[in-house]
């Protein structure tokens, strides 16, 4: 999905909007430290990846996500440095 490739910084800003988080997101942040990392946010992440990256996140994959970095890795080539 070449047209949907985004830079890491752009993704971190997008992630604030996906999670509806007022503070900034950083690559090494632990998701469990975010108050906003609830079922609504998890569904929003699933929907965002489906729409923008054509990636369907399975429930096991979702449960294995620990950090923002894991989210970036999951997007694969869709997110550049």
């Amino acid at each position: 999905m070449k047209e949907n490739k985004m830079k890491k910084d752009e993704f971190l800003v997008a992630l604030e909007d996906i999670l509806q988080r007022e503070e900034s997101c950083n690559e090494n942040d632990k998701l469990e430290d975010y108050d906003e990392w609830d079922s609504l946010s998890k569904m929003a992440v699933m929907a965002y990846y489906d729409k923008n990256f054509k990636i369907k996140i399975g429930l096991n994959q979702l449960g294995a996500l620990k950090t923002v970095s894991d989210l970036i890795k999951l997007a694969g080539e869709n997110i550049n440095d």
Binding site: Q20, E36, D38, S39, L40, S41, K42, M43, A44, M46, A47, D50, K51, K56, G58, L59, L62
Partner: protein
């Protein structure tokens, strides 16, 4: 897959996971919907969110939590359905003797037996030749009901079917349950389905993923888990085992007799299974999405509706979501509520509505249809008015005590 005519002359294909059907002589001629007048606004429930309005704003933006309609405790699904039916019969000037079948789609019926449709049949004063039966289905139930009605008509068994659907999902949900309480609203609807001499095509795809049977369920709500201590071999302490609160990982308290919903599993089913179901419908019958005027998606919540619409690459501007925000997720009835909420003016003005409808939910099941609604009578979304002679629970108990005491 090549289509073939079934025994009714309709094109039906069956596989492991789907039933694809096309009907040619079935027309939806009227849809009436009612909602209870009692409105709950989530901003009036701030105490459940530490009085933090920002938390509510976030939920409003992400999933559309806002307003919902709920019944008084003494109003049941059949009450809502009966009023929707009475209004439709009156407003469309329908001869009751012309109705061949009454179908009631319901999950929370008045009694476990007999079928609730018999009570409604009696209340509406329908003739003995009008058959009556219930269909027990969740959120895809209105589409299931249309599909069964269409099969009855296309087969020649019936010419006019009165399809009722109603649900009161708010009943039994504790207001402190912030997973379920803000989601669900109550509603009832009546739909008139007629035989048409002229060709009117409608298309259906119904699919099931029964591996998700436990994703939306009330564990202690029937005969599998005892609801009476007197049940044979029942050794459980009802109050202790069925009603003692269970604490979830997030600290929420619930019980075995409350609705359990695995939200992530349901969402996963929705964004994977539902688009596939819809795309199969379009591919098999060579339909074009650009011909569809509106996508009337089950109003599960705003996030889910938008995710499904995006997944099938359908324009969001033709996919209404504000019905969820104004009325909540009314389960079986959310699609007809959304049709009445969004399409009434357009149809009155002669609009040729070709709607894609898709309902999905417990089962897990999905039912999608492409329907012509040109010239269909729409009531709008009307407030339910409790009749003056509506019995209280106490009156009903006294009635039955007396009736049983007077029997042999």
């Amino acid at each position: 897959m090549e289509g073939k005519k079934n025994m009714y002359g309709s094109e039906t294909r069956k596989g492991d996971v789907m039933v694809l059907s096309k009907f040619e002589h079935v027309k939806i001629t009227g849809i009436s919907t009612v909602v209870p007048p009692k409105e709950i606004n989530i901003y009036d429930e701030a105490q459940y969110y530490d009085n933090n309005i920002k938390k509510i704003d976030r939920m409003r933006k992400m999933v559309g939590f806002w307003k919902r309609r709920i019944v008084d405790e003494d109003v049941t699904a059949s009450d809502l359905a009966i009023q929707a039916a009475e209004r439709l019969i009156q407003q469309m000037d329908i001869d009751k003797n012309s109705i061949d079948a009454l179908i009631f789609v319901v999950q929370r019926s008045d009694h476990s037996a007999p079928a609730n449709s018999f009570y409604i049949h009696n209340k509406l004063g329908l003739p003995a030749k009008c058959i009556a039966f219930d269909i027990r289905q969740g959120c895809p139930g209105w589409i299931y009901g249309l599909w069964v009605s269409s099969a009855l008509i296309e087969s020649g068994s019936c010419k006019k079917v009165l399809l009722l659907a109603a649900d009161t999902p708010s009943v039994g949900i504790d207001l402190g349950d912030r997973v379920s309480a803000p989601v669900f609203g109550d509603a009832g609807c009546a739909t008139l389905i007629d035989y048409s001499d002229k060709i009117v095509n409608s298309y259906y795809n119904i699919t099931v993923d029964s591996s998700g049977y436990e994703a939306i369920i009330t564990p202690a709500s029937g005969f599998r888990l005892p609801y009476k201590k007197q049940h044979a071999n029942c050794k459980v302490d009802i109050n202790k085992d069925l009603y003692t609160p269970i604490k979830t990982k997030s600290g929420r308290l619930t019980t075995l007799s409350s609705v359990f919903m695995d939200g992530l599993a349901v969402f996963n089913f929705t964004i994977n299974h539902v688009p596939k179901n819809i795309n199969e419908l379009f591919d098999n019958f060579k339909l074009k999405k650009e011909d569809i005027t509106h996508f009337m998606c089950h109003q599960a919540n705003k996030q889910i509706v938008q995710a499904v619409s995006n997944a099938i690459q359908f324009p969001l501007e033709k996919t209404p979501t504000h019905t969820f925000e104004n009325y909540g997720n009314s389960s079986i009835v959310s699609i007809p509520v959304s049709i009445n909420d969004n399409l009434k003016e357009n149809i009155i003005n002669g609009g040729d509505e070709l709607c894609l409808c898709s309902g999905f939910g417990n089962g897990l099941a999905c039912a999608s249809a492409v329907l012509h609604l040109k010239d269909c009578y729409l009531s709008g979304v009307c407030d339910y008015k409790k009749p003056a002679d509506h019995p209280t629970r106490e009156e009903i108990i006294n009635y039955w005590k007396h009736k049983i005491a007077e029997s042999e």
